[in-house]
């Protein structure tokens, strides 16, 4: 993100309005990292690809065995390194390949979501969804939604560290 190199980037809300104006000129595109569970969401994403469904190219995918594997630490570290948004997707409740991984994940992520809102981070940087292996179109819709939401929020200045 050459835009952010060398700047003092902990959020300064007066500055971020100015930066918004800069963004529009610089053609900034949101960068989204998606942690997808291997059995359902990753397969759903793959189905979207095979069916030639178009969705925005802003997403990079990381495959994990189960959504319960995701430590909130991964999400926070992604935000620190510079990703603009994070998406975590797992199997629907009751369908987890490891029986109950997604239930624990649901609890973990609600803690993270509530705490992020509590300290004042804008909602929409961290997203969670359930996508099953047969839901190619649903996956594409979710990606479109998340990309638009992130585009409105602007580049991630909150946790990005000084480089």
């Amino acid at each position: 993100m050459s835009l952010n190199k060398g700047e003092n980037t902990m959020v300064d809300t007066e500055k971020s309005e100015k930066i918004q104006v800069m963004i529009a000129d610089e053609n900034w595109e949101p960068k989204i990292i998606a942690f997808l569970c291997n059995w359902c969401s990753y397969a759903g994403a793959d189905l979207a690809g095979v069916s030639r469904i178009q969705y925005p190219p802003n997403v990079r995918v990381v495959r994990v065995p189960c959504s319960g594997r995701i430590d909130p630490l991964f999400i926070l570290k992604s935000l620190q390194v510079g990703w603009d948004a994070v998406l975590v997707s797992g199997c629907h409740p009751g369908d987890c390949h490891y029986i109950s991984g997604n239930y624990y994940a649901r609890r973990k992520f609600s803690v993270l979501d509530d705490l992020l809102e509590f300290i004042g981070i804008d909602k929409g940087r961290v997203n969670f969804s359930w996508v099953s292996a047969a839901e190619g179109e649903a996956f594409a819709q979710i990606i479109r939604k998340v990309t638009e939401r992130t585009r409105k929020l602007g580049p991630n200045k909150i946790f990005k560290e000084e480089r």
Binding site: L76, K77, Y103, R107, I119, G120, F128, I142
Partner: protein, 328 residues
């Protein structure tokens, strides 16, 4: 305060019976520190030591931390207040301590514990050489000043809003001479300070946390004072992979405290030993109090009893999931 003296007398009798009958190897309590308004953890092993035991508003550490280093099978007595008994219960549930090894002496809390950092702030950082009590007013004397401060202004925040005064699990209970009330006169919601904070805008909340955390030097006193932080290798010290490199960025400090809060979700009992241990006087207690309010609002459980399942280690089929992104 006369009530404190009576509690201290009953405590001394209980400790004496435990030590003389050799039921325990030692009893953990507090003794007077080398500076005014400071107390020191005290391992009582012999009967001659019992007179040095104290019990008052500046016994500010969570003694449960010191139990973690002891091997299983060693019988230990410990003097605890309600919030600390709850953290001991969490440790017993997580199988770090055996219930049979510990003899809990439950003490009812009076108005609460004084936060030394708050005193320092109100005195402008100046040193005081002595203090006297006058009812609920404290008079601090220093080199060239004398100041009277109300107890309510220097109590730990968790104590100001506490409604949980009676010990819930104990082997011996010191009876309070009369019912201990909270320092606030009127009735209030236990999470009032969190509710007040949530009324602010996101910008104000972020500005508050940013201002507090800029002072942090990542000394880890908060983590080391917490009895529930007992990982042999904390995530911040991990080398492979190295998540955080402990440089002075605000993002590092923010993420350390956020991640520690997430790791304590459902476990933190609000004893506030972390806030009182901080050498920079950072007020971080709101983040941890929010955890308890959140578990209560979402899953209807904010205080865990002995033998009950942990909050993050269990689930219900119909947990709320309103934050999910759904397709249109």
């Amino acid at each position: 305060m006369k009530i404190m003296e009576e509690i201290r007398k009953s405590l001394k009798e209980i400790v004496k019976s435990l030590i003389s009958e050799k039921k325990v190897e030692y009893v953990l309590g507090f003794e007077e520190g080398t500076l005014p308004l400071k107390s020191v953890p005290f391992y009582i092993e012999k009967e001659e030591d019992i007179d040095r035991l104290i019990w008052n508003e500046y016994c500010n550490l969570n003694l449960v931390k010191f139990l973690l280093e002891e091997p299983h099978g060693k019988k230990i007595g410990i003097i605890l207040k309600t919030c600390e008994i709850r953290s001991l219960i969490v440790l017993i549930n997580e199988k770090q301590i055996n219930r049979e090894d510990i003899i809990i002496i439950g003490v009812p809390c009076s108005y609460g514990i004084i936060d030394f950092n708050k005193v320092s702030k109100l005195l402008g950082g100046k040193e005081f050489s002595e203090f006297t009590k006058h009812g609920n007013d404290y008079i601090f004397k220093g080199v060239d000043f004398e100041k009277t401060i109300k107890l309510q202004d220097i109590l730990s925040d968790s104590c100001v809003y506490c409604k949980d005064k009676k010990p819930i699990e104990y082997d011996y209970l010191v009876k309070a001479p009369n019912e201990f009330k909270n320092i606030k006169e009127e009735d209030f919601d236990e999470y009032l300070d969190v509710i007040e904070f949530e009324k602010k805008t996101p910008k104000e909340r972020w500005a508050y946390f940013k201002k507090e955390l800029e002072k942090c030097t990542l000394c880890m006193a908060c983590r080391n004072a917490c009895p529930l932080c007992y990982c042999k290798t904390c995530f911040i010290d991990q080398n492979q992979p190295q998540w955080f490199d402990k440089t002075d960025d605000l993002s590092e400090k923010m993420l350390f405290h956020m991640t520690r809060a997430i790791h304590l979700a459902g476990r933190c009992t609000g004893c506030e030993a972390c806030t009182r241990a901080c050498p920079e006087g950072i007020d971080i207690h709101l983040l941890y109090k929010k955890l308890r309010k959140m578990t209560k609002d979402r899953w209807n459980v904010d205080k865990i009893g002995l033998g009950e399942p942990s909050v993050m280690g269990s689930y219900k089929m119909d947990d709320p999931q309103e934050f999910m992104v759904k397709e249109d």
